[in-house]
C-alpha cells in the first residue's frame, strides 16, 4: 500500500475516534471545573489545575505573598499560597466526593445484581445447553425450541405484564425483582451461544469418559468447562453489559428508590438537586463507568476474539 494512502487511512480513523471519544474527554475535564467556569467557557483547563501549578511554583520560589482564588460562589479572595492550595484541592475533590457519596449504595446494588445474574445465567445456560446439545430424549427438541423461540418476543411486549407479575409476587423493591427476570431472559442468549459451541465438540471426548462411568456433572465439569472458557467470557461480558445498562426495569421496579442500581440511580441523580452542580454530575458519570472500564481492561482480548469468531450473523 502506498504511503500516502496509509497516512490518509490513519488520519480518517484518528479523526473519527476523536469525535467518538470527545464527549468523554469533556466529561472527565469538567469533573474538576465549577459551574462558573463552565458558564464562562465550555472548554478550558480547570482553574484549580492552573492555580495549583501557579501556587506550587510560587511556594518553590519562596514567594509567600497572597494569591487570588475564586471560591465556590465565584467571588475572588486574596489568601496565602498554602491556603490557596488547600482551596484548589478542595475544588478538585468536591465533585467526586459528592458523587461518590450518592452513588456508593447504587454501585453495590449494581454489583450484587450483575454478578448474581451473570453467575446464574452461566450456570443455567451452559448446563442446559450441554444437555440439549449432547442428549436426545423425550421433549429435548421441544425444550430447545421453547428457549430459542423467546427471542421473538421483544421487551416492549412484556414490560408492562412483567411489572404486574413482579408486583403480584411481592418482589417490588427487592434484588429479586431484577435478578430473576434478568436470569430468565439472559439464559436464552447464553443457551444460543453455548449450544452452537458445545454442538461442535467431538463426541469421542465424552464417549471415553462415559465408559469410565462419569456422570453428567463430571462430564460437564471436567470436559465441557475447560474447553469453553472463551465462550464463557463472551456470555459473561454481554450479560454484565446488558444488566449494567438496563435502566428502565430497575427504575420501574424500585418504587421507593431503595434498590436503585447505577443506571436508574444516575437518572434519579439527574432529576435531583445534585444536578445543579455540574462537577458532581460529571463525576457521577465517570464513577459509573469505572467498573466496566476495569472489566474492559481485563477482558478486551478474549471478548474481541469471541466476537470475531463468527458466531454473530443472521
Amino acid at each position: 500500500m502506498p504511503r500516502w494512502k496509509l497516512l490518509a487511512i490513519h488520519a480518517t480513523l484518528i479523526t473519527i475516534t476523536s469525535m467518538t471519544l470527545l464527549p468523554l474527554a469533556f466529561m472527565v475535564n469538567n469533573i474538576f471545573r465549577s459551574n462558573h467556569e463552565f458558564y464562562r467557557s465550555f472548554f478550558s483547563i480547570p482553574d484549580a489545575f492552573k492555580g495549583l501549578v501557579g501556587v506550587t511554583g510560587a511556594l518553590a520560589g519562596g514567594d509567600k505573598g497572597p494569591v487570588e482564588v475564586d471560591d465556590q460562589e465565584g467571588r475572588t479572595q486574596r489568601v496565602p499560597p498554602a491556603e490557596a492550595a488547600g482551596m484548589y484541592l478542595q475544588q478538585i475533590k468536591r465533585g467526586p466526593t459528592m458523587a461518590w457519596a450518592v452513588l456508593r449504595p447504587y454501585l453495590i446494588n449494581s454489583l450484587v445484581v450483575s454478578v448474581l445474574t451473570a453467575l446464574g445465567v452461566c450456570a443455567m445456560g451452559s448446563s442446559a445447553a450441554y444437555i440439549l446439545s449432547r442428549y436426545r430424549f423425550m421433549g429435548s427438541r421441544v425444550a430447545l425450541m421453547m428457549f430459542l423461540a423467546t427471542m421473538m418476543f421483544p421487551g416492549v411486549l412484556t414490560l408492562v405484564p412483567s411489572f404486574l407479575l413482579v408486583k403480584r409476587l411481592g418482589l417490588l423493591n427487592t434484588y429479586w425483582a431484577m435478578i430473576l427476570p434478568y436470569m430468565a431472559g439472559g439464559q436464552v442468549f447464553a443457551i444460543f451461544i453455548f449450544y452452537s459451541f458445545f454442538k461442535g465438540l467431538p463426541e469421542d471426548l465424552f464417549e471415553s469418559a462415559r465408559l469410565d462411568g462419569a456422570g453428567h456433572f463430571r462430564l460437564y465439569w471436567n470436559i465441557v468447562l475447560p474447553l469453553s472458557k472463551p465462550v464463557f467470557s463472551v456470555v459473561i461480558i454481554m450479560n454484565i453489559l446488558g444488566t449494567w445498562n438496563n435502566f428502565l426495569w430497575p427504575f420501574i421496579t424500585n418504587t421507593d428508590g431503595s434498590h436503585h442500581v447505577i443506571s436508574s440511580g444516575l437518572f434519579a441523580l439527574a432529576t435531583s438537586a445534585h444536578a445543579q452542580n455540574f462537577s458532581t454530575m460529571f463525576a457521577a458519570y465517570a464513577i459509573s463507568s469505572v467498573p466496566l472500564l476495569i472489566l474492559f481492561v481485563y477482558a478486551t482480548r478474549p471478548f474481541i476474539r469471541g466476537m470475531t469468531s463468527g458466531a454473530f450473523k443472521a
Binding site: H10, T20, T150, Q187, G215, L292, M307
Partner: protein, 300 residues
C-alpha cells in the same frame, strides 16, 4: 447426540428444570398476560373490566399520538438503519485494510472503549453537554459568531426530532465495527487473491466482493437496528420525555406513560401487542427478502 439411559434421562430433566421454570414464569407468563390483559381496562390493584378489543380500537382510531408517534418511530428507525449499515462498515473496512495487526487492534479497542459508559450517562451527557444552553453546540455557534442560531435544540419543536437523531454522532459503535470486522476477516484469502489478480481492488472490490460476502453481518445489524429502533424508547424518555408536545413521542414511550403515569395497564398492554405484531412483521420480511450469503452460495 446420544439417547441416555432412563436414570440419566431423569438427570437431564433435573438439570434443565430450573431454567425452564424461570422461563415459563418470567417470559411466557408475561407474554400470555400481555395478550389477555390487553382485553381489560384496569389500574394496578383495581377492579378489571372486560372491554374486548376496545383498547385496540381506541388506540388506532381515537388516540392523537398513534400516527404521529408511528411516523417518528419510522423516521428514527430508518435513520438508524442508514447510519449503522454504512459508517461502522466503512470504519471496519479501513481498519481491516491496515497492514499491521498492532494498529488494527488499537483502533478496534478505541472504538469499543465508549461502551464502558452506561447508556443513561451517555444520554445525559448529550442532553447536558451538547444540547444545553451552555453546551458544546451553542458554544461553538457563539464562537463562530453565529449566536443567532443558538437555541434549545431539544425543546424547539422544529429541531427536537433531528436533535434526538444526532445523539451518538459520529455513529460508529464498537459492536458494529467488531461484527463487520469479523465478516471481513472471514473472507478467504483465495477470494482476495483472485480479486487482485483480476485487477479488482479498492472501491470496486469493496462493492463487488466484500459487501456480498458480509451480507450475513449486514443482515444481523439490520435486524437488530430495526427491532431496537421500533421498541426502544429509554433514550427518548431521558432526553425529552416525548416532548415538546408529541414531537419526539414513539409508541413504546406512550405505552410506558399509559402504564406508569396514567395507570391504564390494559391500554398499555394493547399498545405493546401492536408493537410486537409490527416488529414480528418486519422480522419475517427481513428473513424473507434479505437472503444471507450462505443461502446465495448454496443456491449458485
Amino acid at each position: 447426540m446420544i439417547r441416555p439411559s432412563l436414570r440419566s434421562t431423569l438427570g437431564c430433566y433435573t438439570i434443565i428444570l430450573p431454567g425452564t421454570v424461570l422461563l415459563l414464569t418470567f417470559v411466557y407468563l408475561p407474554v400470555v398476560w400481555a395478550f389477555s390483559k390487553s382485553l381489560y381496562e384496569f389500574e394496578v390493584g383495581g377492579q378489571a373490566r372486560f372491554v374486548g378489543l376496545a383498547n385496540y380500537k381506541e388506540y388506532l382510531t381515537l388516540d392523537p399520538t398513534c400516527w404521529p408517534s408511528a411516523a417518528n418511530m419510522l423516521l428514527l428507525t430508518m435513520f438508524a438503519v442508514c447510519v449503522r449499515l454504512t459508517l461502522p462498515l466503512i470504519v471496519a473496512k479501513l481498519i481491516h485494510s491496515l497492514p499491521r495487526e498492532r494498529w488494527r487492534h488499537f483502533y478496534r479497542v478505541m472504538f469499543l472503549a465508549p461502551i464502558v459508559v452506561p447508556g443513561v450517562a451517555v444520554q445525559l451527557i448529550w442532553q447536558g453537554m451538547i444540547y444545553a444552553d451552555h453546551g458544546l453546540l451553542n458554544s461553538l455557534l457563539r464562537g463562530l459568531d453565529l449566536a443567532h442560531l443558538t437555541h434549545g435544540w431539544l425543546s424547539d419543536p422544529h429541531t427536537a426530532l433531528a436533535a434526538v437523531m444526532m445523539v451518538g454522532f459520529p455513529f460508529v459503535g464498537g459492536f458494529e465495527v467488531l461484527i463487520y470486522y469479523a465478516g471481513l476477516s472471514a473472507i478467504p484469502d483465495s477470494v482476495n487473491e483472485a480479486a487482485s489478480l483480476e485487477g479488482c481492488t479498492g472501491v470496486s472490490k469493496f462493492f463487488r466482493i466484500d459487501i456480498p460476502l458480509i451480507l450475513s453481518q449486514l443482515k444481523l445489524i439490520l435486524l437488530l437496528t430495526v427491532i431496537g429502533g421500533m421498541q426502544g424508547f429509554e433514550g427518548l424518555f431521558i432526553l425529552t420525555r416525548g416532548g415538546p408536545g408529541f414531537k419526539t413521542t414513539v409508541p413504546g414511550l406512550w405505552m410506558y406513560f399509559n402504564a406508569f403515569s396514567f395507570q391504564r395497564m390494559g391500554y398499555a398492554c394493547a399498545i405493546g401487542v401492536l408493537l410486537f405484531l409490527a416488529i414480528l412483521t418486519m422480522t419475517l420480511l427481513n428473513f424473507r427478502y434479505f437472503k444471507s450469503a450462505e443461502k446465495i452460495k448454496g443456491e449458485s
